[in-house]
């Protein structure tokens, strides 16, 4: 037997170490479609609970939208279940081309290439485009998939302090000797919900002859007046060179991602990006449903407008209730607790109140910055938001944190 006890013990020991650090991720089973109200089996084996979901990336509430589900069925009937091929052999259908064209138009980019996920898009784009004579200059808090992609690339890389334009300028000056420069940022940062100042970044990139790549996974479909994203919000649609984004969050929530941008860069991805060349095509039902999503949000801003209203209403409610939330304008609302155990304990108590939220702590967020991350959706109704705020008020009162600021919470619980 090749899997000996000795080998097994190596892995068992690693799992125990993860548990000892309090980083073990428990299984949670959703026994209903993804929505504002879901049925959950948690802990594993327990009876089912109906809870309100405040931790999904279902920003536009499209994950189970009847028109999207219908389009997926139609895609299944018209183009089959799977392609059994990568894109460039025999895995590209007319609907793949149609989705790419619609995404380009929606984002205001020259061309688009679909990937199995945005994780794959981020893994592939750098090594396909850049080489050892180039440099990548990245915000320190970019998503892990961008970090992985940058590490797979032979270009030199450097980082700048989170959203610190003075520091970015310094790094751009430092790397003027390189063939090309690419600045990399998230549009909306997933843990803090803050918006990268793309207007300032575009100006700096123009000044120092640098390309700008923005991961819009937590922005596409709802940030900006018509939901185009962070570049629309800051009025710099023409200033962003590359967008990577996902169909797995606001844009339907199934899977798939893309690189969208300057046509030469997209073409190089088509020729060289390894996750594109060596991974299967996006399945026809998902492609057809994603086309429907782009059509829905291109034709109406109703859903992003509702999400904006929900965001404003919820943020005000939480502040009034005395919770210490990180200020902002996105549907990612971090409830700052600073202490990991407090974040975990409060999330558990929120679940008992019928609200499904998760505590986040180091290394997912910086040390001493533990929080519960609330994510809002256009699927939430006002009564859902009221119930969530009331549950936070009740649980916050139990732990004596209402009305307390950072230093007071740290004084009480440590960090």
């Amino acid at each position: 037997m090749a899997y000996s006890e000795k080998t097994r013990n190596v892995f068992t020991g690693e799992i125990v170490a993860i548990k000892d650090k309090g980083l073990f991720k428990e299984k949670r089973f959703i026994c209903s479609p993804q929505d504002a109200e879901i049925t959950v089996e948690y802990p594993e084996g327990s009876s089912l609970s109906k809870v309100l979901n405040f931790c999904a990336n279902n920003y536009l509430g499209l994950s189970s939208h009847p028109d999207v589900v219908k389009a997926a069925h139609e895609g299944l009937d018209a183009r089959g279940y799977g392609m059994s091929s990568v894109r460039f052999i025999c895995g590209t259908q007319d609907i793949h081309r149609e989705l790419q064209d619609k995404v380009s138009k929606f984002l205001g980019m020259e061309d688009t290439l679909l990937f199995p996920s945005c994780m794959d898009a981020n893994s592939g784009v750098f090594e396909a485009v850049l080489g050892q004579d180039d440099v990548i200059i990245a915000d320190r808090l970019i998503h892990a998939s961008l970090v992985d992609g940058i590490r797979l690339c032979s270009a030199e890389y450097d980082t700048f302090k989170h959203m610190n334009m003075k520091h970015l300028r310094k790094k751009l000056e430092l790397h003027q000797d390189k063939r090309t420069r690419m600045v990399v940022t998230d549009g909306v940062f997933s843990m803090d919900g803050d918006l990268a100042p793309l207007d300032e970044m575009v100006a700096l990139c123009n000044e120092y002859d640098a390309m700008l790549l923005v991961d819009e996974s937590h922005a596409s479909g709802f940030i900006g007046k018509t939901g185009r994203g962070t570049h629309e919000h800051f009025g710099v649609i023409d200033g962003v060179d590359i967008i990577t984004t996902t169909f797995g969050k606001g844009l339907g929530g199934a899977s798939g991602g893309c690189v969208s941008g300057r046509k030469e860069i997209v073409e190089l991805c088509r020729q060289k990006a390894r996750p594109y060349l060596f991974s299967n095509s996006l399945a026809p039902p998902i492609v057809n449903a994603s086309i429907k999503v782009i059509d829905l949000i291109s034709g109406s801003t109703e859903r992003r407008d509702k999400l904006e209203w929900n965001t404003d209403y919820f943020r005000k409610g939480m502040e009034k209730a005395g919770l210490n939330i990180r200020s902002g304008e996105t549907p990612i609302v971090p409830v700052m607790l600073y202490n990991a155990k407090l974040a975990n304990d409060m999330a558990r108590d929120m679940y008992a109140e019928g609200i499904y939220v998760i505590g986040f702590f180091f290394p997912v967020v910086p040390a001493g910055a533990a929080r519960i991350r609330v994510q809002l959706s256009a699927a939430h109704e006002k009564e859902h938001l009221d119930k969530c705020v009331e549950a936070f008020r009740k649980v916050g009162e139990k732990y004596g944190i209402l009305g307390l600021g950072k230093s007071e919470i740290i004084e009480k619980y440590g960090n």
């Binding site: 990245a138 320190r140 450097d158 980082t159 302090k161 989170h162 610190n164 180091f362 290394p363 001493g368």
Partner: protein, 82 residues
């Protein structure tokens, strides 16, 4: 060695601490294990050391442990300088 610690500490503060952050960092403050410097942003510190002291630090040497304090970083650089 004391001069080197001073130079490296100054770089660490300038490169990793925000201007409005009241965090106090000294030569023995944990950098990696405290999250001030992560494995991704460590690259600029390594580049600074290599350029400043004309040494080559291999990936095997530039571990999170070796880079955890200004003191341990300087010990590593000093080893190369002989």
């Amino acid at each position: 060695m004391d001069k080197m610690k001073e130079v490296v500490l100054e770089y660490v503060i300038d490169e990793y601490i925000d201007e409005d952050d009241d965090e106090e960092v000294g030569v023995d403050s944990p950098l990696i294990s405290s999250g001030i410097v992560d494995s991704f942003s460590m690259v600029s510190l390594k580049r600074f050391l290599e350029n400043k002291y004309k040494v080559r630090l291999s990936d095997e040497e530039a571990t999170p442990e070796a880079f955890d304090t200004v003191t341990s970083i300087c010990s590593l650089v000093q080893k190369h300088l002989g």
